[in-house]
Symmetry: C2
Subunit: 340 residues, 2 copies
């Protein structure tokens, strides 16, 4: 007896370049209401779309095995309990889960985290108080080790992680320069995020020209928080200052193909030597056990509005593959979410 | 009244590629015996020849301003006091200094460090108990953070710093694999240094082929101590294991021109992310104030013969420029010294 229809985006074809709708299939599956003990049925409200999803679509192992073909695209989700077979959840409760691109999911309660909409808007569990916030906070504070007066350079600065790193850097007393694509995003960095400078990489056609502008604007960097990799990072690396720290958080510019095919850039390791600098790669998962610290440090700033993560909300479950694709076109400012 | 003739190698022309005799001029300068208070006249016995000298000949700033043209080539030296105007030094005393490529030098005693030939052979002050030893010890222990059972991969493993890093790695309980050029050096790594494996990079003509062999021999690395950079490091980087640490100590493969001209290699920073790895550049000078620690940790091993730094000794002051050049041909095993 199926009362419900679950709509699901199956990941069916590995992208070679840009990911899009052709790599997914939308299926409708009947779903009954039968729940095991401590299981609940969740109806998703917000589904997350994140750059890391493209990494997991590389052919070879990255930080995980490749995302299997033929299953629902994995993703973090915020939804509401529709039916419950647990004393700990009741219909209407908001929950954070990792249910993927589907409108409904039966979940064991151990897979869910209850959200209090009075404390913060529920979508922040996918943003500033979730994975992107954790990545930005611990990546910057622990690997970047910012000090007051440092120059912090952030690539992908108008994105989810980048815009948080930039704000955390201001809180730490840094001079913060953001790199983003296009005048609108740069205007956003200056006027909304109140950064000390913004560089529009799209205004430059060569690494050397971009490097020259970055040098002019920053005077060299103490901390570089990298979300993009590729030719932008090529331009940034030689501008490091003594004992500089680079945090490698993403390489979004290389996701369209560079993960499976080697791409070339200038060798730069000698600069690490000359300046006794450090590069560290970080992933959100290394800090999952420290969410309490994140909430303690950042929660009050979110409540007061001092730190925020703007959302780009795409309406409609059907839009998920296109929304993922749009991340690599730089369409979003802040956190990209799909509203079911 | 000149009693002495000082022979000096002046650095007169900036090399674009390989450095050699054509970039130096040998001059003979008369020298009197007049000494200011607390000055001594030192006759050099051993003059050091180190890869870093080529870095300082780059046209642009590296970790220092470029070595000025028209002055005596700077270098560390071990010599004996010939005359003294200080109560703290007497003729015959052995001293470590930084007097450069010249047979004689008048030095203020604050520039000198007295050596006790009973404690260790005086040339060790230019080797295992000097700059190369300090670089190897602190670079490995502090930036590499080796743990028992780790796989340590060392490039330039038959060189001064490399052969010490390899031995310190064995002391730390690591499985140690060395990379060196040619079968003789690889035999040295296995039979003299007792390493667990050796890879002759000259046996491979492509990065991919070298990478395949390195993967076979190492199974991936936890610590990479890099003295060479260039295409060897290109092959090494993607073979990192979870939370690996790369120590960038030198880039000798790039010194022939790569420091002034950008050279291309495959981008690899995404691997740092996937594996949450760290790269750190180190220089001996950052640990100069910690020589006591070095002597305490390594001195006993040197005395017992458990750790050693073999020397390649070139006879004759006139050979200095050629000796420097030979470093980049990989002619030396262990520490290269010129005996005056």
């Amino acid at each position: 007896m199926s009362l419900y229809t679950n709509r699901q985006w199956f990941y069916v074809k590995r992208p070679e370049g840009r990911v899009g709708a052709e790599h997914y299939e939308l299926r409708e599956t009947p779903m009954d209401e039968e729940l095991a003990i401590n299981e609940v049925l969740v109806e998703q409200r917000f589904i997350s779309v994140d750059p890391y999803m493209r990494i997991q679509q590389a052919e070879r192992n990255t930080y995980d095995l490749p995302h299997p073909l033929g299953i629902v695209q994995r993703a973090a989700t915020v939804g509401q309990v529709l039916q419950s077979n647990s004393s700990q959840f009741k219909p209407g409760d908001w929950v954070l889960g990792y249910s993927g691109w589907q409108t409904l999911a039966k979940c064991h309660i151990s897979e869910l985290q209850k959200l209090d909409p009075e404390l913060a808007p529920v979508s922040t569990a996918l943003g500033v108080l979730g994975m992107p916030g954790r990545t930005a906070w611990f990546g910057l504070m622990e690997a970047g080790r910012p000090r007051a007066g440092d120059t912090l350079l952030v690539s992908g600065a108008a994105g989810a992680v980048g815009s948080l790193v930039a704000q955390f850097g201001k809180k730490a007393g840094c001079k913060v320069i953001g790199i983003a694509g296009g005048p609108a995003k740069c205007e956003y960095l200056i006027n909304r995020l109140k950064l000390d400078g913004a560089v529009d990489y799209r205004a430059f056609s060569t690494t050397a020209a971009l490097a020259q502008e970055l040098e002019r604007v920053t005077g060299g960097w103490d901390v570089y928080f990298d979300n993009v990799g590729g030719w932008i990072t090529d331009a940034v690396m030689p501008l490091l200052k003594l004992r500089a720290r680079a945090v490698i958080c993403g390489a979004i510019a290389q996701y369209d193909g560079g993960l499976d095919q080697p791409d070339l850039g200038p060798r730069f390791l000698q600069h690490m030597l000359f300046k006794r600098a450090t590069i560290q790669g970080i992933l959100a998962r290394d800090f999952t056990h420290r969410m309490e610290e994140l909430r303690a440090a950042v929660g009050p700033w979110v409540k007061s509005g001092e730190v925020f993560l703007d959302e780009t909300i795409v309406e409609g479950f059907d839009q998920l593959p296109e929304a993922l694709n749009s991340l690599f076109e730089g369409a979003n400012t802040g956190k990209l979410l799909v509203k079911v």
